[in-house]
Amino acid sequence: MREVAIIGVGCTRFTELWETSFRDLFVEAGLSAIEDAGVEGETIDALYIGNMSAGRFIEQEHLASLIADYAGLASINTPSTRVEAACASGGLALRQAVLAVASGHHNIVIAGGGEKMTDVGTGDATDVLSAAADREWEGIMGATFPGLYAMIARLHMHRYHTTSEQLAQVAVKNHYNATMNPRAQYQREITVENVLTSPIVADPLHLLDCSPITDGAAAVILAPGEIARKYTDTPVYIKATAQASSTISLHDRRDITTLDATVAAARRAFEMAGVTPDEIDIAEVHDCFTIAEILAIEDIGFFKKGEGGRATEEGLTAIGGKIPVNTSGGLKACGHPVGATGIKQAVEVTEQLRGEAGKRQVDGAEIGLTQNVGGSGGTAIIHILQR
């Protein structure tokens, strides 16, 4: 397996983009990435497209063909593959693209992800998202997606004395980071009090503990490591790609407060990259709810199980802290167009490692990690990137 590098990145604004269609979102992100990399369409060997549920959001499947077509690659018959793992669809597209280059089967490959969520109403969107959990044994029983994470949060609070204030600190930090990210959906600060006084969605989670509904797309261009410098002076190398499954239902997990899929993927990724959690300078993790970021920083191994809330409260995950987490603003404040998220994480880390992250730049960042979760933890995808 040969080395793989990111040679170009692109990302749309993340927000409610009423005027922009699904296909236009992808083309915009893909074109930015292609311009950033300076590659020609003819040199692109394959596309991998991450999307959760265009079948229900816009009644369209066969997305890989659609995107290849509108990107101008259908006339040269470029293979195009759509992958889906609920909220981890973007990370999965990146991983499959990395494997395609690492194997030597392809050279220049685009990994794109996106979701067009605002063409349906909020009630419908909520129902579409709950298809990431077990419809027959969770959804039908009355579970919502916030409800599942709320049950994790309550047990975490019970066992480890994690507080609602600590959860709120995740949102406060990520909103603050987003004020420095011109792509972010919410570029305004919030306070712990704002979170705690926002309406309760599923106790103990408040509205401001939850990521929003967002339109957006992101793309990265991959090349074999040995030729990456032909395209860019600042290649970012993929040192590890790892994927793990767990039960789709939360109730079937060994431990309700641990995402074993994250634990397994992290173990594989650190082994593949030959680094330890302490050596990571920056991480983008899957904070679909504030409790999810707490789980992530524990299950990846940045902090011991049960200490994620306190670490957040102490500022250890802020920019300037021990391990800056979600400098982009995360899913919480940058926004969460489901299929785009895993790719946007790689875009953010790439820009940080290149030193191009503007006001939110983490000084001297050399190694970064992305963690993308499907559903309540049935899938986890982790990548480790190095400049």
Binding site: G123, T126, D127, S130, R135, E136, W137, E138, G139, I140, M141, G142, A143, T144, P146, G147, A150, M151, I152, R154, L155, H158, P199, I200, V201, A202, D203, P204, L205, S249, L250, H251, D252, I256
Partner: protein
């Protein structure tokens, strides 16, 4: 939710009917066609659960799915049956009464309806013991 999907497992929803692997002595609910632990070596038989257990964790749902008729807010929890398996279910109690670790038992109740066809779905919920 489509009607056939619900009715297909109806007897399992009504009666807490799951499966038991005699190879590794593990109980499963919902029913499994193969034992996830033993896979090909597993021997699966149907098993009707007694319906008692404890509440592992819970939440109070303020915004229910459109097809769930329970009046919000309602308590949703993960129950660990005494035989071992866990399931997600509505808990019939006030939000203040719910407590991690409390003993519960299953009851037969309406759990939702399909507005278009007017179908009503019955199944299992849990009450405080």
């Amino acid at each position: 939710m489509t009607v056939p999907r619900f009715w297909r497992k109806l007897k399992h929803r009504y009666n807490l009917l799951g499966t038991h692997c005699t190879t590794c002595e593990t109980y499963y609910y919902p029913p499994r066609k193969i034992c996830p632990k033993c896979r090909r070596r597993g021997e699966i038989e149907p098993h009707r659960f007694k319906g008692e257990g404890k509440l592992l964790t819970y939440t109070i749902i303020q915004n229910p799915p459109e097809k769930i008729t329970a009046h919000a807010p309602y308590v949703l929890g993960i129950v660990e049956l005494d035989e071992g398996p866990r399931l997600t279910s509505q808990i019939i109690c006030s939000p203040e009464e719910a407590e991690i670790g409390m003993r519960v038992r299953s009851v037969f109740r309406k759990i939702g309806e399909e507005s278009a066809e007017g179908m009503i779905y019955y199944g299992t919920k849990f009450v405080k013991l």
